[in-house]
Point group: C2
Chain length 361, copies 2
């Protein structure tokens, strides 16, 4: 089997609710330089693949209102490769839209689907994994990149692995028996102890033809829409047609829509220093710390604090006697929260929505 | 003995360091409306005596740079009764300056010395106490108003009470055997358990002639300066003369300079709902609370918090899962601190001074 071309598909549709008040609907997580490096998470996501993938083989699917910002952040990616969703419809339609584009160009092409806002510390290892995953994808598998759990985290999706299907480049490719979204702590603990579960990283590899075939079976509404769209892809009529069909699509994740039902799903367990940096506690793990375990970012002063993240976007923040806490200040809002409750930031955003406080959303 | 006239002397010289970031050198604690009533602490201090003292018998001693603000806040007090200290020299010189003014006008007049930034909940009881204290002062005593301790607070000064000297209006006036400034916790606990100690409220009563006589003995440098000043008091030459003598005065509190040495000191134990509101934890005690014990002031949102103070001066503050915490936001600074460490706010201010961050001081 000859090596097929690899295309990177970056899903830049989320907002990163739990990283409020930094992430906002107008400036979602992936457009931010959250880790205080010199690049945004989106730029980091694309940049880590550019050593092995040409910029014209990179696609980004994002909300129409962020298309300009994405194109500005990724000047090397052809503007027409930034695909605009009129409104968010979850990852199923987003993956389908990119698959249709790639399929029209190269039906056997292998898609590497990447969320735009994850951290991968071992970049070289990740590129090696992608080569291996591409080979598995060429066998017709829907390949999920699985992360060996380091804790019974209840914020992740878990995949139960089954029999080993084949070995590629020394990696064991295993069947996936079951998906479980965000289990309770007891269940997650049992999963981790069993050694048979991996976290669903949201990173996938498959041929465009394979995923479209599975969509025909499991998401037929989406498949029909994509088929109708096919003739106009890459033409001036594309935007109008997308605007017409998109709102009718079901809001459904690729996991729920296809992966949890397909018999072609396998997992490639990987060790790449991954995190979805889903909340402030996760972000703290990736921030530089002083000898007391504190991450003081921006104009922050700590007195007798331990293992705390103090994140200033400009104004002075002073913290006394904090332990395992998060303090975040943006120009217009402050968040104070123990690390152990970082997931609950979601509630703040829900409340702001309920109160229609648009200026803080 | 005929009743002597009573003069209220408000000491408005402090800055309220431990209430940073609300209190600043330019807007000290007493000028602020910290308790979110419609008056500042200074206005509250004067206002609570106006039912029994005429505005022209009220004096305020304050730093020269706050004179205008004080006069603006107290339009009923004659402007010439607002006495300007060129620089802070602690309470000894401030009391002496007011005593000299009052003595020139009415040597037997009784001074009621009040810090400008304390809370007294039982106002009617306080006015009754002042009447009793005035009678004790007319006996030639230096009367300290003593507060029965409710906890072994290490932020206060303690006075050991001795024999009962006399009973006035049913109040036992006792000798003061010893002063102790801010004892350690063990000592404070012993004091409270003994039942013989009261807190030094910083509120005093004496005749102008009595305190000046004691200053002659125990603060002779100050007494000489005041004597030299006497001829120009109330004349256009006063300001220049004050500017000349003031910087030479020793920086010394009235407690240390006179009270700890004089044999005329007595205490009148009072129950008036008093607090010096010295730090944010004390302030929280006087703020309205919701059913979870939280005080949410301004644009503050709490999720699963208990017994916490969240104080916004404008921007949104969101707090998740806090217990016994303080969060304060002003336009240019944020403070996060457990209530138990509210005293340490002082360290923040010290650091800002060391770093010469004038805009936050």
């Amino acid at each position: 089997m000859g090596a097929k071309a690899m295309y990177v598909v970056v899903l830049a549709g989320g907002s990163g609710t739990r990283l409020w008040p930094r992430s906002r609907s107008e400036t979602p997580k992936h457009l931010l330089n959250l880790l205080r490096t010199d690049v945004s998470m989106l730029q980091e996501t694309v940049g880590r693949m550019l050593p092995v993938v040409a910029p014209e083989d990179v696609y980004v699917v994002t909300n129409a209102r962020h298309v300009d910002a994405v194109r500005e952040q990724l000047p090397e990616v052809p503007p027409e490769n930034v695909l605009a969703e009129p409104i968010g419809r979850n990852s199923g339609p987003a993956v389908g839209y990119a698959a249709a584009h790639i399929h029209k160009r190269d039906p056997q092409g292998v898609m590497l689907v990447l969320p735009a806002d994850h951290v991968i510390l071992k970049k070289e290892d990740f590129r090696a994994v992608a080569r291996t995953g591409a080979r598995a994808a060429e066998h017709g598998h829907l390949v999920t990149l699985g992360i060996t759990p380091t804790s019974p985290d209840i914020g992740y999706g878990y995949m139960e692995t089954g029999e080993e299907i084949q070995t590629i480049d020394g990696y064991a490719v295993r069947a996936v028996v079951r998906f479980t979204e965000k289990p309770d702590l007891e269940t997650a603990t049992r999963y981790v102890e069993s050694g048979r579960y991996v976290w669903n990283s949201g990173m996938f590899m498959w041929q465009a033809s394979t995923i479209l075939e599975e969509m025909r079976q499991y998401m037929p509404g989406l498949f029909d829409a994509l088929s109708a769209l096919e003739p106009v892809l890459g033409t001036p009529a594309e935007a109008a047609e997308i605007g017409r069909v998109w709102p009718e699509l079901e809001d459904r994740s690729i996991d729920y829509g296809v992966l949890e039902q397909s018999h072609k799903v396998v997992t490639l367990p990987v060790d790449i220093g991954w995190s979805d940096v889903g909340d402030w506690a996760a972000l703290a793990e990736f921030s530089p710390r002083d000898e007391d375990g504190n991450s003081l970012l921006g104009d922050a002063m700590a007195f007798g604090c331990r293992d705390s993240l103090v994140y200033s976007s400009g104004r002075l923040i002073t913290a006394i006697g904090l332990e395992d806490m998060i303090v975040v200040d943006t120009g217009d809002a402050v968040l104070v929260c123990p690390k152990s409750r970082a997931q609950e930031v979601r509630k703040v955003v829900d409340r702001l929505k309920a109160e229609q406080r648009r200026e803080q959303l």
